[in-house]
């Protein structure tokens, strides 16, 4: 779990954001939304800037939170890889990183959600990153 760390926004440099995962309903289980609010101080930050994490590969990922009229904020989140502007994404690396980010999220959300259950689900459905 310590392999994923929240970091300050990296220098933009010659990079682009590559969209990997979109969640339209972050509050489906409200404790997930509460986790992101705590982790990225969203009650104060709001939509001002994305959150960033560094994943085990060393790649940085931007978490772009989404607001929607009439719904608690954030209602959604997008995960983008921050990659060299003109280079294609290494999909296998990104997939392993996403799996690590999901484990980090589940650990942060806490019971009844457990990393062990997530890993077991990944193994049941033969997710390569779950081993």
């Amino acid at each position: 779990m310590t392999e994923v760390a929240i970091i300050d926004a990296p220098a933009a440099g010659d990079t682009r954001r590559e969209l990997l995962l979109t969640e339209d309903r972050l509050g489906h289980y409200p404790e997930f939304r509460a986790f992101f609010i705590r982790a990225f101080d969203l009650d104060r930050v709001g939509l001002a800037r994305p959150g960033h994490v560094r994943a085990p590969s060393g790649l940085v990922y931007a978490l772009v939170f989404v607001g929607r009229s009439g719904e608690a904020f954030p209602c959604g989140v997008e995960i983008h890889a921050v990659v060299d502007a003109l280079e294609p994404l290494d999909e296998a690396v990104a997939d392993r990183d996403l799996w690590s980010i999901l484990q980090w999220m589940i650990a942060g959300v806490g019971p009844p959600w457990t990393v062990e259950d997530l890993r077991a689900t990944g193994r049941l459905y033969r997710i390569p990153a779950a081993g």
Partner: protein, 310 residues
């Protein structure tokens, strides 16, 4: 592209020889099959399948002289697949189905429901009783509570469609159409050989798989659930329904187990024929399609022979 992939899938055209038809319903493009003549039978699939699920159910119905209509739910199969979760709601899917039936002006319908085809098809039937003459229910439900024990478990069900986990597992990795269905049939080798590539081919990209993790989030787990009121309405209407009904269930079903769910349908609709148990887990049509088709044809034949249509 999907059609090309399907055409390249070994044996697909033999198993699914039906012409593709399309209708604009409720603002979406819906694919359906329409074969045969006679009183219509509407075959409704659920998550994450499409009309192909009924490939072995169709021939006995055609041979018995019925017209068979098999729509693909918006978001599945060869129908349009909206890219946003907000495009999907239980009421919206009921309206989609209603749009198709009215456009085709189907009457004297036998509505056959599986999985999410149950809440949608049964709600359509309760709201359009003048068009429906009989029901068949298979591995589905029609009430808000209690949920299936399977759907309350954190491992694997709730974890599988949790925020961000759903888009990762079911979106990026297509686990419901692939391994998920595989785990919910009896003859897994036959399924892997004949059907799994077909189910996967119609959901080729993560964005196309949106409904596979959206539907699970519509299953009511408590009284605050989005669909709780619609399910309460449906149960109340069904309890007053005298429509002839056939209950068919998979003996090995461990999602909606027969002892709980088929039995509750029987209590809700005491006049129902069945439950008839066949070989099958949740996707019972994969293991017993022809037998199910014969059961439905015989049930409708008894209605027609007895003249007790309504």
């Amino acid at each position: 592209m999907i059609q090309d992939d399907l055409a390249r899938t070994e044996g697909f055209r033999t198993r699914w020889p039906h012409a593709a038809r399309y209708a604009r319903v409720n603002g979406w493009r819906m694919h359906y099959v329409d074969e045969g003549h006679g009183d219509p039978v509407l075959l409704l699939h659920g998550n994450p399948t499409w009309g192909f699920l009924y490939r072995d159910v169709i021939p006995p119905l055609l041979q018995a002289g019925y017209r068979v209509i098999v729509p693909d739910m918006i978001g599945f199969g060869l129908s349009e697949k909206p890219p946003r979760e907000q495009a999907h709601s239980l009421d919206g899917h009921i309206a989609n189905l209603t749009g198709l039936v009215r456009q085709l002006d189907l009457r004297r319908l036998a509505v056959v429901c599986h999985d999410w085809g149950g809440p949608t098809g049964l709600s359509f039937a309760m709201n359009n009783p003048d068009r429906v003459r009989a029901l068949t229910v298979m591995s589905t439900w029609a009430w808000a509570a209690p949920p299936a024990e399977f759907h309350t478990r954190v491992f694997p069900w709730r974890t599988m469609h949790a925020p961000l986990v759903g888009p990762y597992l079911l979106g990026r990795h297509n686990v419901l159409a692939g391994r998920g269905v595989y785990l919910s049939v009896v003859d897994r080798e036959k399924f892997r050989r004949e059907a799994q590539p077909v189910y996967e081919a119609v959901l080729p990209d993560p964005a196309a798989r949106l409904l596979t993790w959206t539907w699970p989030r519509w299953i009511p787990l408590d009284a605050e659930a989005r669909a709780a009121r619609r399910f309460a309405w449906l149960e109340e209407r069904l309890a007053r329904s005298a429509l002839p009904t056939l209950i068919v269930w998979g003996r090995e079903d461990d999602v909606f187990d027969a002892a709980t769910f088929a039995a509750r349908f029987k209590r809700l609709l005491p006049h129902a024929d069945g439950p008839h148990l066949v070989t099958g887990r949740h996707f019972l049509q994969e293991d017993s399609g022809a037998a199910i088709g014969a059961l439905i044809a015989a049930f409708l034949g008894r209605l027609d022979g007895g003249g007790a249509v309504r």
